[in-house]
Symmetry: C2
């Protein structure tokens, strides 16, 4: 790999069977518009998709046996009209990589430039050769804008007859996968045409959805460079804009089309169709005036700014160096600093999970972006706050106090159709509270704290206080809920839930006392605060004295063991081969749960407890969820199992690039990508941030010679570099008088502006032999050990 | 009420708003054919229905979030062509009770005659008066046959122009009730026409279903008595036979039509359409040759035979006297002695629960019919055995050993669409085993025991043995299942399930040892038997030492209490107003569960435990299920709370007659009807039959002067009469040398043929004050106390 190769992700003709996966990997987004990495010509495709954050349709849910408060509707992401299409006919043959002769073909995602480049040499079935190059971007600074530059040259000595049509297509067919519960529910032709016009290479489509009553408009405009003699024509209908050029291209000549597309969606009652059309036309025109080269330059500038903080350097493992940059790139482009917007579980890269926002956002993605792009976390927290009314309504429907946020949603309303692994997973409320507390600790953003933050903390604290109950023995219990592990449900005292609820209750109490005026407006009394503290102090964390380990939930360690010996490789993932009846009642763990509790709430456990707990749960965790490996890596690193940690990190980092879960074609798993960063920074960097204090306990894995990462803390950019001998902390941008105090291996360290501090690497504890994973489920070995 | 009035159930014009309920109450059945008690004219109706045991269609199930082994299809009862219809036009006006003037109207269900009689005097809108009388029966001895005699006379002095059409209608519209999860799923036009013919007042329709591939044929033939001058005509189409007579009826004249209908269904690949048509035509013709009066006489004879054993006499409460006879009548007519047929939860009286067979059959209905009509129990057990292959397949799909019988089904395949309250309710397997053991004990039918019985016992014992597990402490646990109480799910060590599994395991072990050759054929080894006994001996029955009560399931008594004080009457049934999230985790009980365990497995509890347990659970049981009151009555009577027992008995007995659950219109609740008998015989009679021994512990409630009931035991008819002072046991039909030994209040009593034994009534224990029911949920008081 060349030195800059690990800033690039390549796919060639050899990857033609990885079509859907490549479309996800090459998806471009700015957190508002997302274009899947389909080929310019649109064919062949795995799944086309052009998504706008929040744009969705509703569908009815029906249950074989309905129940009270089962959601009756769900949100489903639907594709906006697809403006990425540029179709080419060469001597009458449509350019299609499955036909003719492919002399060369490569597409590259450039992680610094923020573009997908394509270079293809193709001989048509009729024997005419062309070279086609394109560059595609979704503009990071201009939220509605995406653009493509598409160039064609003849390959041989003879002129070729070309016809090139730039399309915008509404209601593209989406493949249905009815057999997989994790796939999207496809609505056919969800967009109803409201208006279309085109004229001289520019055009606009306006559509609306039926039930969600949203309006979407896409405008395109073009620049064309072509030899004389080319004719232009438009052919526009309600669902398709088609703008074509046609003519003869001689050797040495070039046809170059640059397409600028603008996208907007609004509630139907928010803006009239014509006004929305005018808006996107103006946005597209403005982009064209700005010019493609300027968009490219803006893109590079925006990313340079991001990478300055966010780049992670892994010296010694080029593949994972590429993978971690790929992960960070997608996290950065998934977020939005402006507006009240959040990040769905698959970002805007596919329609998996129906395009829903899950707890992945607060549980996995925001804990990373809080340090890399805190303005994105702020926007996502504001989005949660904007949907507090729906969460209060849902709590009232469930006859609970406070607010219960949805397990899965786009609109803010609960869309989960299997309540034991949806509505019952109340921990999402504590995860949101945790995201607030982490954001405030990392940024010191007291405005958000007093406003949005306090209200979120109070509403969720009220839920826990009302939902839990006091035993006769004076312990506070939270029963009948589902924790992170989806191979268990409706358990009592899930330790993760309880520990996070404690953090939620105490965080709300602290916040209310810090902002007493605002707290009073919210009706918080000193007695209520005292009640929260009492519940937090008494919350029960189940522990098995006999086995000397904590219990994932009450009684977990007394459940029957799973018969791993009877399994074959084909039995994974277990959820496709065993009923919940078996999975729920046995000691088999889909994903980090108690281990996640140890990661998020490290102060609740002693080092020895962590060691014993980790070994116990490592042997029972099958990682059938992409959310798991990174958390296990973090704890493995903390305990000192650095090889295992490295291998778990690799699994998280390669989850989508290597399609380890066989589901990347539906979209990227942003939580797994976030996990790659988390495994590095919380795992090998040892970052923890409990109680508002930043601490590191670094340990360099054997496979690496050097590891560096950066993060933002209280407005400063902190850079941390691990080598074999020492850790270096620096504030590269800070004025000399700036001070940041942190802990290195438990000892306080003060870093000042422009003066790096180095400390020797702390010794790695000797944890003894690596604890076994379930048979056949140890992650692949790539560590040096 | 006249002395024979409590053999009659009447409805008059005043009940016209109880249309659907009346159709269920007046439903006639012979266990093979069931006709709802619709008006002869078909209009107005609540829901028409003509059901054949086992005749159903399939429908797809779809889940918002699918899972492994979730059933993908369900069975749904569909109506056979309705042959009950006789439409009348008077002077051109259709007889419709909603029009014209109703001078008199009464319908009567005669519980001894086994018919519904109707007598109506109606003045048409055009001013023509007629008296219409009809008698309807579904023949108990002739399984395909139902018949109606319909008579019209002019009321006034003037002749009337009449047109009478006898119809058979396929694909009648069934009202849909999408809002109620307990209602049926309606398939429109489920019957596809295959053949129809009619000729001279006889005709036949043949149809088939699409997916279940069943064929149904209905033939009718008529006898007509009419004055000269009446014309006849036929008008038959693929979905409707219509055979009419038309003419002028003078005062003093009478038009009388007698309609004989025959019904059959078969698998499509079982009998050709024409052959099936010929069969039903021959059956209808044979019925006509036999004649209506002979059918009436057969009906009376069949019922006399039943009532001789089954009548229950309650002196002192005429309303409940009627209600208990109504209950027993419907139980008797729901069953089939011939073939491998079972009894759906609503019999053949409606389409509620989709016409499914639930655990109601073995849990509630067969424990009654075993004593009243043991041949029906045998038939139902043979039906379960016939579907053992599907139950084995289902167990294999669930990756469990042995067999798992469906929670709800018609075809034998699992149809439950909410697994926590379906598939997870594994106790249905122990309920089936219990039905086998009870049947064998009551009948001594060793043939069934060695054949069908042993195989059912072994398959279910293997399930428990493989599903349960051994704790380190040497206890055998059954975890992650759902017991009878549907306000709890996925619990550990549900006491009812565990106690019944113990009975299942020991019963299988005993049976295998009694029939060693047959056991060997089934692969049962001595080691396997030893394993069953060991598990049974060690099975865990959870007990709360602090509170001194058994736990419905592990931890139940430590769960939060339900806040009954916050409820209003409108909050019931709770399942329509609270989420499972709340119901499952709190101490609120829908229906007898631990109390049912005390009823079914009385030997597992001391008298003092029963007293304390009953009080504890009575305070927390809301009886939102019709299955509950009778079990509570049995235990209340045993403990000595006779007034409470009587009031609970009344609730069970009146459940459908008074439509207490507001669901009778969908069909009768056979388990609640069975419960009425159970409350009398197990409650006030104190019948128990553990370990093959029949025992009574009688106590006469204050409201009654005398109580008598009968049952069959080892081929003998035993009659038991309770008065204030004594209990009388007799074998009225037995030869003098016949002896039956039973226990009276614990003391052995030997009754011989034709010599009654009397014993003084045992003293009723003083249980102290009546334990409280949940606020507002004590049953209505009708006891003398």
């Amino acid at each position: 790999m060349r030195s800059d190769e690990n800033w690039l992700v390549r796919r060639t003709a050899a990857d033609s069977d990885r079509l859907g996966e490549t479309e996800s990997v090459f998806a471009l987004s700015n957190g508002w518009v997302g274009w899947r990495g389909t080929l310019d010509e649109g064919e062949p495709y795995g799944m086309s998709g052009s998504y706008l954050n929040g744009f969705h349709e509703q569908r009815e849910l029906s249950y074989p046996e309905d129940g009270y408060a089962f959601p009756q509707r769900s949100d489903t992401v639907v594709s906006a009209p697809n403006a990425a299409l540029i179709r080419l006919w060469v001597g009458g043959d449509a350019l299609d990589l499955r036909t003719g002769t492919l002399r060369a073909h490569e597409r590259v995602l450039d992680l610094r430039a923020g573009v997908v480049r394509r270079d293809t040499e193709w001989i048509s079935p009729g024997g005419h050769g062309v070279r086609v190059r394109s560059t595609r971007l979704v503009s990071l600074p201009r939220h509605p804008i995406a653009a493509v530059r598409y160039e064609v040259e003849p390959l041989g000595d003879a002129p070729v007859e070309l016809r090139l049509c730039s399309d915008v297509q509404a209601n593209e067919r989406v493949p249905e996968r009815p057999d997989d519960p994790r796939a999207a529910s496809v609505i056919r032709d969800p967009l109803n045409a409201e208006a279309h016009r085109c004229d001289g290479g520019s055009g606009v489509l306006v559509h609306r959805t039926d039930r969600s009553a949203q309006r979407v408009a896409v405008a395109v405009t073009h620049e064309s460079e072509m030899p004389e003699g080319f004719a232009t024509s438009d052919d526009c209908t309600a669902d398709r804009l088609r703008m074509c050029v046609e003519g003869r291209l001689r050797p040495g000549q070039r046809l170059r089309i640059t397409k600028y597309a603008a996208h907007e969606c609004t509630p139907v009652d928010g803006m009239a169709a014509n006004d929305l059309a005018d808006l996107v036309v103006a946005e597209a025109d403005a982009a064209r005036e700005h010019g493609f080269d300027a968009l490219l330059a803006d893109q590079r500038t925006a990313l340079d700014g991001h990478w300055q903080t966010a780049d992670v350097e892994l010296d010694g493992d080029p593949e994972l160096q590429q993978a971690i940059r790929f992960a960070v790139f997608h996290l950065l482009q998934a977020g939005r600093a402006e507006g009240d917007r959040t990040i769905p579980a698959k970002g805007l890269t596919g329609n998996g999970y129906d395009g829903h926002v899950l707890w992945d956002t607060e549980g996995y993605v925001l804990p990373v972006l809080t340090y890399l792009a805190p303005e994105v976390t702020r926007s996502a927290l504001r989005w949660r706050h904007a949907h507090l009314p729906e969460a209060r309504e849902r709590a009232a429907e469930l006859r609970l106090p406070g607010a219960t946020f949805p397990w899965r949603t786009i609109s803010g309303r609960e869309c989960s159709g299997y309540w034991p692994a949806g509505t019952a997973a109340l921990h999402v409320n504590a995860d949101i509270a945790d995201a607030v507390l982490r954001y405030v600790a990392a940024t010191g953003d007291d405005d958000l704290f007093a406003g949005v933050g306090l209200e979120l903390l109070v509403a969720t604290a009220r839920l826990w206080h009302g939902f839990g109950y006091w035993s006769d023995e004076g312990a506070f219990h939270i029963t009948g809920v589902t924790g992170p592990d989806e191979y268990a449900a409706l358990v009592d005292d899930n330790l993760f839930t309880n520990a996070m609820a404690r953090r939620n209750l105490l965080g709300a109490a602290d916040a209310a006392e810090r902002h007493p005026g605002r707290a009073e407006e919210l009706g918080v009394s000193p007695a209520e605060i005292a009640g929260w503290r009492a519940a937090a102090d008494a919350i029960h964390l189940p522990y098995d004295r006999k086995r000397g380990v904590h219990q994932q939930a009450a009684g977990f360690t007394e459940q029957p063991e799973w018969d791993f010996a009877a399994l074959t490789e084909d039995d994974y993932p277990l959820l496709l081969h065993f009923p919940y009846l078996e999975l729920y009642r046995k000691q088999v763990v889909k994903q980090a749960d108690l281990v996640l509790a140890m990661q998020r709430c490290p102060g609740e456990f002693t080092a020895e407890e962590k060691r014993r707990n980790f070994a116990y749960y490592q042997a029972r965790t099958v990682r059938d969820s992409s959310l798991s490996a990174a958390s296990q890596a973090v704890l493995a690193a903390e305990i000192g199992h650095l090889d295992l940690a490295y291998d778990l990190f690799a699994e998280a980092a390669l989850h989508d690039l290597a399609d380890l879960g066989d589901k990347t074609s539906d979209g990227l798993h942003l939580a797994a990508l976030a996990g790659a960063w988390t495994a590095v920074v919380e795992g090998f960097g040892g970052l923890r941030d409990q109680r508002g204090e930043l601490s590191f306990d670094p340990r360099l894995p054997a496979r690496l010679d050097r590891l560096a990462f950066g993060l933002r803390w209280r407005g400063q950019r902190l850079r941390v570099t691990l080598t074999r001998d020492e850790t270096r902390y620096e504030l590269p941008d800070a004025a000399p008088e700036v001070e940041v105090t942190l802990r290195h291996a438990g000892e306080p360290v003060t870093v000042t502006g422009q003066t790096a501090v180095t400390r020797p690497m702390p010794p790695v504890p000797d944890p003894g032999p690596e604890p076994p994973s379930p048979p056949g489920r140890r992650p692949a070995r790539r560590s040096a050990g």
